[in-house]
Symmetry: C2
Amino acid sequence: MKTSTVDTATQILDVAERLVQVRGFNGFSYADVAAELHITKAALHYHFAGKSELGEALMTRYTARFSEAVAGIETRVLDAPARLDAYADLYLDVLRMERMCLCGMLAAEYQTLPAPMRDTVVRFFDNNEVWLTAVLEHGRGDGTLHFTGSARDTARVIVSSLEGAMLVARPFGGIARFQAASRQLLAGLKRP
Amino acid sequence: MKTSTVDTATQILDVAERLVQVRGFNGFSYADVAAELHITKAALHYHFAGKSELGEALMTRYTARFSEAVAGIETRVLDAPARLDAYADLYLDVLRMERMCLCGMLAAEYQTLPAPMRDTVVRFFDNNEVWLTAVLEHGRGDGTLHFTGSARDTARVIVSSLEGAMLVARPFGGIARFQAASRQLLAGLKRP
DNA sequence: GTCTATAGGCAGATAGAC
DNA sequence: GTCTATCTGCCTATAGAC
């Protein structure tokens, strides 16, 4: 019989994840997380030895979740243009919570990250590009998408443009700017 | 008769600017700047009362410089497509120094910034969009540029996509990713 | 698993001499 | 303008009781 209470480690990850996405990895502390959960900093160290380990755990979970969400698109959505829309909606959902993409935030702070975290950031973008590349090639094959240059380069444009749209949209508040940028970006791939 | 030595305040701004662009506003300290210039933290406080004031001074100078650079494009470059290329090259020059755009970095850290700095970040993006909007309308008028939707929305796509391309390119090292994204983005505006 | 207590360091900042 | 000296406070982290 499963309880309704959430594992403490999970609660820690939830709070820390939000803090990193809103304030950055260098913009939050163990004290912030502890205060919010009404536990002590020492209790945090029991679950995650140090900030670096906490960061690695955040990345592992985030990457897995994002991969699941992306895989879910393939089962629900069939044609390539709609898959791109659904992909952009993943970013929109994050922005609605007034957060930055975790990996986009960490990309900004990249030079200050513990070494183990750096690799996972790069891998995140790579994984996304691989998936998008397949979608783009599929769409070009059946004539629903149109772009010049390689599918991989176009995938890179999509990833970086969506990250940039999130980055700039947050200081302005609201999701309008992101949506406008996202729509215009994807519209360019749908018209012949 | 002007001396060859550089004003200390200017040296401080130079070092601090680089540190913010590489490590973020929350990723550098007065101690870092002082050590690099072989002066004490107290000397820094003489020139800039606090980190917030230093940050404001950085933004003021950066915004002015960027505006000058953008204005310079208008005097050197005449047709709209070439102006867009020159604009993208401003970002490329920053990336070549292995830095992020100052305002892109601060956009990521927006929620943790001192209030006076926030407004200047928003204004930076606004100013850039205004200039780009004029270039886009000019280009559409003489038939050298083609895009659907408003010039303002397209300007926003350009700004956010270039910021995103810088953001993602840095963890991968080198400028290739940025150049590929930049070229593809602008190519879409040049073809009919 | 969570606590109290504390270590050791670095942050931003100030007073006052030179 | 720059220094030494110092402050207060927060940071990450650890030891050891419960």
